[in-house]
Amino acid sequence: MANTACFIIVGRNDIPIYEAEVGSAAKLTPILSIWQREDAAQLHQFILHAALDVVQDLAWTTSAMFLKSVDRFNDLVVSVYVTAGHTRLMLLHDSRNEDGIKSFFQEVHELYIKILLNPLYLPGSRITSSHFDTKVRALARKYL
C-alpha cells in the first residue's frame, strides 16, 4: 500500500467535518526536520488547510468534481474532490495513483450523501458515525 497520510472532509465554511489518518504516515521531508514526529498530524492539517486557497480558485474553473492534485508540499500531494454542495474531500498522499484516488473519492462521496440523507444529521456538523468511519477506512485500503 502506498503512503497515504490524511483524509479530511471539509464543510462549506472551511470547517473539517471528518478527519482520518489513513495508511502509514508519510515521511517528513528534510525541511520539516524541525517538526517532531508526533507533529505529523498537525503538519497534515496545515498542508490541507493551506491547499484550501488553491481549491477555491480551481473549483470554479472546471465542471469536474475531481480536481486531481491541486497542491503539493515537498513530496506530499493534495488531491481534492469537490461535491456539488461545495463540500471538499481532501486527501494528502504521496503516491501517484490517480485512478484509485478518483474511485476512492467517488465512493466516499456516495457514503457522504448517505450521511446527508439521514434526517438526524445536521449538514455541516461533524460526522460521528462509526459506520462511516469503518467504510472510509475500508475504501482507503481498497483503492489507495
Binding site: D14, I34, E38, A41, Q45, H49, A50, A51, D53
Partner: protein
C-alpha cells in the same frame, strides 16, 4: 502596472548593477573624515546616486541617447573580493537579531485583524528590514569572478594634503594595492587622483603646491582637490541628514558635524564630475572598442564557423568548471564585459546581443557557472527593457536551475538569482509565483529559510485574491524555523500574524499547535501573562493524545507558576461545565427531607398534597393578599427561600482530558442585597445587568468579603480522565433580601481561578424548580427573595429497610423534629401508598415487643381501629405541637404489599404559629424507595364439598418465589366470622421439612365451613369464638400464640388489600379472604435482605367459591342396590336436598329427562368456553356455573352409552319455593329395568331468583353425575 525601470526592483537593479569604483586612500585621509563619524567611502556614498545626470552616450550604434539615472558604487580596495562566508553569515544574523529587538515592544499587543492586514498598503505588509536583509544577502555574493559588473571600472586614489610626499604616496598606493583577483579583472583601469584638504588643520599653501605638483605629474584632468571640514567647531546640524539612511546605528545627528553646506555641495560636484566626465566616457569608449574588436573576431558567418570548429576540439577535453579558464583578455570575458558595460550604460539591446553571443560558448564549454550568470543577466535585461515576459522568466528559471545543479557552491548564486527572480515577479504582480520562488530558495539553513518563508507568506497576502490559508501556513513554517535558530522574537511575530488567520479555525490540531507554541515562546521572552492567555486556548484538547495533553498541561502550569499570581479566567475550559445539568434546589413552603425527595417531580407532590394544603379560596387567597401587601409586585415572580436555609445548586463538571485534574475551592458566586436598599437596587437593575463580567465580579468579591450575609460551601474534588462529577454547591443566606446566584468559580491546581457566569448562558427551563411559574426568565430562576427564618420540620423514618420481602410487616417510627423555637401545629400527613404504609394510632403505642404485640391475648390491641380509611389523609391529634428541638416519634406500620421497586411518597403539612410571614404553612416531603423481593405466592381454589352443603374444600397452592430464602408457614386465617377453617391433614404431613425452600411449591388442603345457618341466625354466628378462623400450621413451639388478624395493623392492611385486589364495588357474598402468615426460616442466608423480617403476611382476598350458584343440592340415595329383575323392575327412591344459598327467594323447577344426553345437543357440541349463553340479568357466578356444567357434559362417561336406560318415575317436573338460606327436600324416584351402573345426571334445575322485588335472575343447572349400581340379586 508600473514600468519596469520605475518599479522598486528596477530601481534596485540600477543601483546594484552599476560601475564599481575602487577607492585607495591613505590613513590620514580616513582620519580626516572620521571627525565626522564617517569613513571616506561613507561620506561619498550619498552623493553617488544621480537622479538626473543627463549625459549623452553613444555606444555601438551611431545614435546618441541620454543617460538620466546613474549610480556609482564605491568600495575600498580591500573590500573588492569575495567576502568571507562566515563573516557574511554573522552579519546577516546580526541584521535579523537587530530587527527582532526593535519589534520586541510590539509583541505583547493582540494579533491584528485579518481585515486590517488586507487593507494595509502593499509596502507596509512586509517589515521594512526585509529589503535591507535582501540587499545584504546579495552583497555577500558580490565580486564573484564569473561576472563582470562587479569588476572595478575606475580607481580613485586619495591622499591627504598632510601626507608627506603626497606624489609618491599616490604611486605607492596603487602599486601596493594590486587588483585582488587572479587575472579575471582587467588591471588597466581608469585612475583618478584626489587630494583631500582638511580646512581645520592644514594650510592652504601646501595644498595648492601639492595640487600643482599632482597636475604636472598625472595630468590636470585626472586630478581633483576636495576641501572638507570647513566648520571649525564641528557642530553643524543638518536638516535631512543625507547619511542617516546609510548608517543607522550611530546617532544620526552627529554624522557630518564638521561638514558645512558648502562642503557637501563640493562633494556632490566632485562626484558628479567624476561620473560624467570620467567614468561614463571611459565606459563608452571601452564599449565601442570592445564592440569593434568582437565584431571583427566573432560576428559574421565565417567567424562563427571558425569558433564552433575550434570549440569542438576544446570541448572534448575534461569538464572544466574553473573560472580561471577565462582570463580578462580571453574573448569570452571580453564579450561578457561588453555586455555588462552595455547593461550599466542602459544599452540593453547591446547587452542582450553580447550575452546571447557567449551563451552558446559557455554551454559548449560546460562552464555552467558562467552560463548561469549570463542567463541571469539576460533575464534581468529582458525585464528592465520591458521585453518578453516569457523570455525573462525562462532565463531566470534556467539560471536558477543551472546554479542549483552546481550543488553547494552554486547555492549562494542561486539564492541571489532567486531573490532577483522573485522581485521581478513581484514587480509584475505575479505574487503567487514569487512565493513559490521564495519557497524554492529556502535552503537548509534555518535562519535563512525562515526569512524566505516569511517573505513567501507576504507574497500570498498580496495575491489577488489573498491566499490567506497559505499565508498562515508559511508564517507558521517560518516561525518554526526562527525558533529553531533562537530568534524567538521573530518566531512570536510570525505566529502572532498567523493567529489572525487561524483565530476562529476549527481545525483542532492547527489551533493547538499555534497557541501552544506561541504561549511557550512568550514565556521564553518573559511575557508570562500573554503566554498564559494564549495557553488557555489549548487546554480543552480532549482529542489529543494523552502525551500531548500532559505536555500542554505541564507547560501551562509551569508558566502560570512563573507569573507568580493567580489568574482569574472567565470561561476557563477546564473542566467543562455542563450547563444543562444545572439544577437549583431550594425550599420555600415546600421542604424536603432528603436529596432524593427534592428530585421528585413536582406534579407528584402536588397531586399528593392537593387535599391537605389550604384550598385556593380559603387559605391561599389570604396569604396571597398578605404577600401582595408586603412585597412589591416584582417579587411575586421570584423564588422564595428562607434565611438560614441553604439553596443548593447541582452542577456537573466534566474533565475533557485524559489526565486527571484536581479542582479545588469550587463555590458559587452570589450577590445578596439586603432589604433596606433593595428598592434602589431594583431601579438599578437594568443597568447592572448590562455590565461586563469583570465589573460584576468585583461587585461580588466586595459583597462576599464585605458583609458576610451569606455563606458559601466549598468543594474539592479530583476528576479522572474523561470523568464527570455532579457537584452540590450551597449558599446559605443569613439575612433577608434578594439573593442572586451569578456564577461559579473554581481553582485549577491551585493556580488558576476559573469563573463561569450563568447569565451568559441560557439556563434551560427544566432547571427552574419553580415550574408553576413558567414565565420566569432564566435569570429570575437564579434570583431568590430571602424571607425571615421560619421553623422547619425535619423528619426521618428510623431503620427503614431498603430491601424486603413481599408481605414483610414492619414496625417503624417516624421521627419529626422542629429545631426552631416557634411552635408548629396542625400536622397532617398523607401517604401515597396506604397499602404499604399505615400510621399507628397514638404516640409510642407499643408496650410489648413486635411482633408479639400482634398475638392473641394482648387485649389492648384488639381495639378496633376506628380511623376513617376512605381518605388517606392522616391528621395528627390536635394537641400535637412541636418546638425547640423536641422530637415527635410516631409509629408507622410498613407492609411490603407487592414485589417490585416501590417509590413511597409522603408529605407532612404543618402550620406555623405566631409567625407573621408571607408563609403560613409548609410541607415536609419525604420520599423513600423500597425494593420488594418476591416471597411466597399463594393461590386458593375453593370448591364445594360434594358431600356437605355447608362445607367447602380449599386448596392452597404456595410457591416460594424468592431467589433464596426459606419460609416457614405460620398460620392461615380466614377473615371475618363467616368462615371457619379446619385442617384436612395433620400439620406434619403437609410440610414435613417445615420450611419452604426457594422455588418450592406446595399444595395443601383445608376445609372451610360456612357458619351462617340462615338469614336470621347472623348474630349467633358472630359470637362464635374467633379461634375457629385460624389454623396453626406449625408443630413446634406449641405454646406460641397465633396472630390476631383483627389487630390494628393487620386489619387495616387487609382493608387496603381488599380494596386493591378485588372489585371494590360489588362485594359478593360467596368470597373468602385468607391471610397467610409466614416467617423466614432461621437457616436461610441473611445476605439478600439486610435485617431479617419478623413476620410476613400474605393476603388473598375475594377468593370465590367455584360453582357458587344460588343453589346447592345433593342427591341422596343408595349407592348399590341388589334387585331381582326377574320379578319386577326396580324402583329406587331418591331424595334431593336443595339449599338456597342466596339472600333472595328462589323458585326451583326440577325437570327430569329420560332421554340420554345427546352428543349433538347444543350445550355439549360447543365444547366448553362458548357453551354458556349470556343472559343479561344473570350474575357472574352464573356464568361460572354453566361453564362448569358444560365442560362436564362434554365428556360423558363412556359406560353410559352401553348402559340401559332408566326412567324417572314419579314427578317429572316439580316446582318448589325455597326461602333464603333454607333447605328443601324433594323426593324422586327412578325405575331401572336391568342391572347396571346408572348415571343419574339427566335432570335440570331451573331456578328463578328474586333477590329484591324488582331484580330477578334465572338459570339452569345440570345435574351432577350420581352413579347407582344395580345388581341382580342372587
Amino acid at each position: 502596472m508600473v514600468e519596469p525601470v520605475n518599479s522598486s526592483f528596477g530601481k534596485m537593479l540600477l543601483e546594484e548593477v552599476s560601475p564599481v569604483v575602487m577607492v585607495l586612500c591613505t590613513p590620514l585621509v580616513e582620519e580626516t573624515f572620521l571627525k565626522n563619524g564617517l569613513s571616506f567611502v561613507e561620506t561619498l556614498k550619498p552623493f553617488c546616486n544621480f537622479r538626473n545626470i543627463d549625459v549623452p552616450v553613444r555606444t555601438s550604434s551611431d545614435q546618441l541617447y541620454r543617460l538620466k539615472k546613474f549610480t556609482l558604487r564605491l568600495f575600498y580596495a580591500s573590500d573588492i573580493r569575495q567576502p568571507n562566508v562566515e563573516v557574511a553569515k554573522q552579519r546577516l544574523e546580526h541584521v535579523i537579531t537587530q530587527a527582532g529587538e526593535k519589534d520586541f515592544q510590539d509583541l505583547k499587543f493582540d494579533p491584528p485583524q485579518i481585515t486590517d492586514i488586507l487593507s494595509n498598503p502593499e509596502s507596509e505588509i512586509a517589515p521594512s528590514w526585509f529589503q535591507y536583509y535582501n540587499k545584504e544577502l546579495i552583497r555577500t555574493l558580490s565580486f564573484s569572478d564569473h561576472e563582470a559588473f562587479d569588476h572595478p571600472v575606475a580607481c580613485l586614489l586619495v591622499v591627504s594634503s598632510k601626507d608627506e610626499e603626497p606624489i609618491n604616496k599616490f604611486v605607492d598606493l596603487f602599486n601596493s594595492n594590486r587588483l585582488p583577483t587572479d587575472g579575471t579583472m582587467d588591471p588597466n583601469i581608469l585612475k583618478h587622483y584626489l587630494l583631500v584638504h582638511d580646512n581645520q588643520d592644514a594650510t592652504t599653501e601646501r595644498t595648492s603646491k601639492v595640487l600643482s605638483e599632482m597636475r604636472s605629474q598625472f595630468g590636470s584632468n585626472e586630478c581633483n582637490l576636495l576641501c572638507t571640514n570647513s566648520s571649525k567647531e564641528g557642530n553643524v546640524d543638518h536638516q535631512a541628514n543625507p547619511w542617516a539612511s546609510f548608517k543607522s546605528s550611530v546617532s544620526a545627528d552627529k554624522l557630518g558635524c564638521a561638514l558645512t553646506g558648502d562642503d557637501i555641495v563640493e562633494i556632490k560636484d566632485l562626484m558628479q564630475e567624476f561620473a560624467s566626465r570620467h567614468i561614463i566616457p571611459y565606459m563608452e569608449q571601452k564599449v565601442r572598442e570592445l564592440n569593434q574588436q568582437i565584431s571583427a573576431t566573432r560576428k559574421g558567418f565565417r567567424n562563427q564557423i571558425k569558433n564552433l570548429w575550434w570549440r569542438k576540439g576544446k570541448g572534448d577535453g575534461p569538464d572544466v568548471t574553473k573560472g580561471s579558464m577565462y582570463t580578462y583578455s580571453s574573448t569570452e570575458s571580453q564579450i561578457r564585459i561588453l555586455g555588462d558595460y552595455a547593461f550599466m550604460l542602459h544599452d540593453y539591446e547591446l547587452a542582450l546581443s553580447s550575452y546571447r553571443l557567449i551563451l552558446t560558448d559557455y554551454d559548449i564549454d560546460k562552464a555552467w557557472k558562467h552560463y548561469a550568470g549570463v542567463q541571469e543577466m539576460m533575464g534581468l535585461a529582458y525585464f528592465i527593457s520591458d521585453q518578453s515576459k516569457k523570455e525573462s522568466e525562462y532565463c531566470m528559471e534556467r539560471a536558477f536551475s543551472t546554479y542549483m545543479k552546481l550543488g553547494k557552491s552554486g547555492f549562494q548564486n542561486a539564492l541571489r538569482c532567486g531573490l532577483w527572480w522573485a522581485e521581478m515577479l513581484k514587480a509584475r504582480d505575479q505574487h503567487k509565483e514569487a512565493a513559490s520562488v521564495y519557497f524554492r530558495i529556502c535552503g537548509e539553513e534555518p535562519l535563512h529559510a525562515a526569512v524566505m518563508l516569511e517573505q513567501a507568506s507576504y507574497c500570498f497576502v498580496l495575491t489577488k485574491p489573498a491566499m490567506l490559508h497559505k499565508y498562515g501556513f508559511h508564517l507558521v513554517l517560518s516561525g518554526d524555523h526562527y525558533k529553531n535558530c533562537d530568534q524567538v522574537n521573530h518566531a512570536i511575530r510570525t505566529y502572532k500574524s498567523a493567529i489572525s488567520v487561524y483565530k476562529s479555525t476549527t481545525w483542532s490540531h492547527i489551533k493547538d499547535h499555534i497557541y501552544f507554541h506561541i504561549g511557550q515562546w512568550y514565556a521564553i521572552v518573559g511575557m508570562h501573562d500573554v503566554a498564559v492567555r494564549n495557553m488557555l486556548k489549548v487546554l480543552d484538547c480532549g482529542y489529543q493524545s494523552k502525551a500531548t495533553q500532559e505536555i500542554f498541561l505541564r507547560d501551562f502550569f509551569d508558566i502560570v507558576k512563573k507569573t507568580g499570581m493567580k489568574h482569574e479566567v472567565v470561561g476557563l475550559k477546564l473542566p467543562v461545565i455542563n450547563m444543562s445539568s444545572l439544577q437549583v434546589i431550594y425550599e420555600d413552603h415546600r421542604t424536603y427531607a432528603s436529596q432524593a425527595s427534592a428530585l421528585v417531580e413536582e406534579s407528584i407532590w402536588q397531586s399528593l398534597e392537593d387535599d391537605i394544603i389550604p384550598s385556593l379560596n380559603s387559605g391561599k387567597s389570604n396569604w396571597l393578599e398578605l404577600q401582595s401587601k408586603l412585597l412589591p409586585k416584582k417579587y411575586k415572580e421570584s423564588n422564595v427561600c428562607v434565611a438560614g436555609e441553604s439553596v443548593k445548586v447541582d452542577l456537573e463538571f466534566k474533565n475533557p482530558l485524559l489526565i486527571s485534574t484536581s479542582i479545588t475551592s469550587v463555590s458559587l458566586i452570589c450577590e445578596l442585597t439586603t432589604n433596606s436598599d433593595d428598592l434602589k437596587l431594583v431601579d438599578n437593575e437594568p443597568s447592572s445587568s448590562s455590565l461586563g463580567p469583570e465589573i460584576s465580579t468585583e461587585h461580588n468579591q466586595v459583597t462576599t468579603s464585605g458583609f458576610s450575609s451569606f455563606t458559601l460551601s466549598e468543594v474539592d474534588f479530583t476528576l479522572g480522565g474523561g470523568e464527570k462529577n455532579l457537584v452540590r454547591l450551597t449558599v446559605t443566606p443569613s439575612e433577608e433580601g434578594i439573593l442572586k446566584i451569578v456564577g461559579v468559580r473554581w481553582e485549577l491546581s491551585g493556580s488558576i481561578v476559573g469563573v463561569h457566569y450563568f447569565q451568559s448562558v441560557p439556563v434551560k427551563a427544566k432547571t427552574a424548580r419553580g415550574r408553576r411559574k413558567n414565565k420566569l426568565t432564566p435569570t429570575d430562576a437564579l434570583k431568590f427573595l430571602v424571607i425571615k427564618s421560619l421553623p422547619r420540620l425535619e423528619g426521618s423514618i428510623d431503620h427503614l429497610p431498603e430491601k424486603l420481602y413481599a408481605g414483610d410487616l414492619r414496625y417503624l417510627v417516624l421521627e419529626l423534629r422542629n429545631k426552631s423555637e416557634s411552635p408548629i401545629k396542625n400536622l397532617k400527613m398523607k401517604i401515597s401508598h396506604p397499602r404499604f404504609l399505615s400510621p399507628g394510632n397514638h404516640e409510642e403505642e407499643l408496650t410489648t415487643e413486635f411482633p408479639d404485640c400482634l398475638k392473641k391475648g394482648d387485649e389492648q390491641n384488639i381495639v378496633q381501629h376506628e380511623t376513617n380509611r376512605t381518605s388517606s389523609v392522616f391528621a395528627f391529634p390536635k394537641d400535637v405541637s412541636l418546638q425547640g428541638d423536641r422530637s415527635l416519634r410516631w409509629p408507622l406500620w410498613l407492609r411490603a404489599a407487592i414485589p417490585g421497586t416501590i417509590s413511597l411518597y409522603y408529605t407532612i403539612y404543618y402550620e406555623m404559629e405566631n409567625v407573621s410571614s408571607i408563609m403560613k404553612y409548609r410541607t415536609l416531603r419525604m420520599h423513600y424507595t423500597l425494593q420488594v423481593l418476591p416471597s411466597l405466592q399463594t393461590s386458593f381454589e375453593i370448591t364445594p364439598s360434594p358431600s356437605r352443603l355447608q362445607e367447602f374444600l380449599v386448596r392452597m397452592d404456595i410457591v416460594n418465589r424468592a431467589n433464596s430464602g426459606c419460609f416457614q408457614i405460620h398460620q392461615l386465617s380466614t377473615v371475618g366470622c363467616r368462615w371457619g377453617i379446619s385442617l384436612l391433614q395433620p400439620v406434619d404431613t403437609i410440610l414435613p421439612s417445615k420450611s419452604l425452600l426457594a422455588g418450592q411449591a406446595l399444595s395443601c388442603f383445608f376445609m372451610i365451613k360456612d357458619c351462617r345457618k340462615s338469614g336470621t341466625e347472623d348474630e349467633e354466628i358472630m359470637s362464635l369464638p374467633p379461634s375457629q378462623t385460624d389454623v396453626k400450621l406449625f408443630t413446634q413451639d406449641d405454646d406460641e400464640k397465633l396472630f390476631d388478624i383483627v389487630s390494628s395493623p393487620l386489619a387495616s392492611f387487609h382493608d387496603s388489600e381488599r380494596s386493591c385486589q378485588g372489585p371494590s364495588v360489588q362485594v359478593s357474598p360467596n368470597t373468602v379472604d385468607f391471610i397467610l402468615i409466614s416467617r423466614l426460616a432461621k437457616s436461610s442466608s441473611p445476605s439478600v435482605v439486610p435485617d431479617l423480617p419478623k413476620i410476613l403476611t400474605h393476603h388473598s382476598c375475594h377468593n370465590s367459591i367455584r360453582s357458587s350458584s344460588p343453589l346447592s343440592w345433593s342427591l341422596d340415595g343408595p349407592q348399590t342396590i341388589h334387585h331381582d329383575f326377574l320379578t319386577s323392575l326396580c324402583e329406587i327412591k331418591l331424595k334431593m336436598v336443595i339449599r338456597n344459598t342466596s339472600e333472595g327467594l328462589s323458585s326451583v323447577t326440577i325437570n327430569t329427562n329420560d332421554c340420554l344426553p345427546d352428543a349433538a345437543a347444543p350445550t355439549s357440541s360447543s365444547g366448553n368456553q362458548s357453551g354458556w349463553r349470556y343472559v343479561p340479568t344473570v350474575t357472574e357466578e352464573m356464568k361460572l356455573t354453566s361453564d362448569v356444567m358444560g365442560s362436564r357434559l362434554g365428556k360423558p362417561p363412556s359406560s353410559m352409552e352401553s348402559s340401559p336406560p332408566f326412567i324417572w318415575s314419579g314427578l317429572s317436573s316439580t316446582k318448589v319455593q325455597i326461602q333464603p338460606l333454607s333447605t328443601t327436600e324433594i323426593p324422586l324416584q327412578i325405575s331401572v329395568f336391568s342391572p347396571g351402573i346408572y348415571d343419574l345426571s339427566s335432570y335440570k334445575l331451573n331456578w328463578e331468583l328474586s333477590e329484591h322485588e324488582s331484580a330477578t335472575s334465572s338459570g339452569t343447572c345440570q345435574g351432577y353425575p350420581y352413579y347407582l349400581t344395580v345388581l341382580q340379586s342372587e
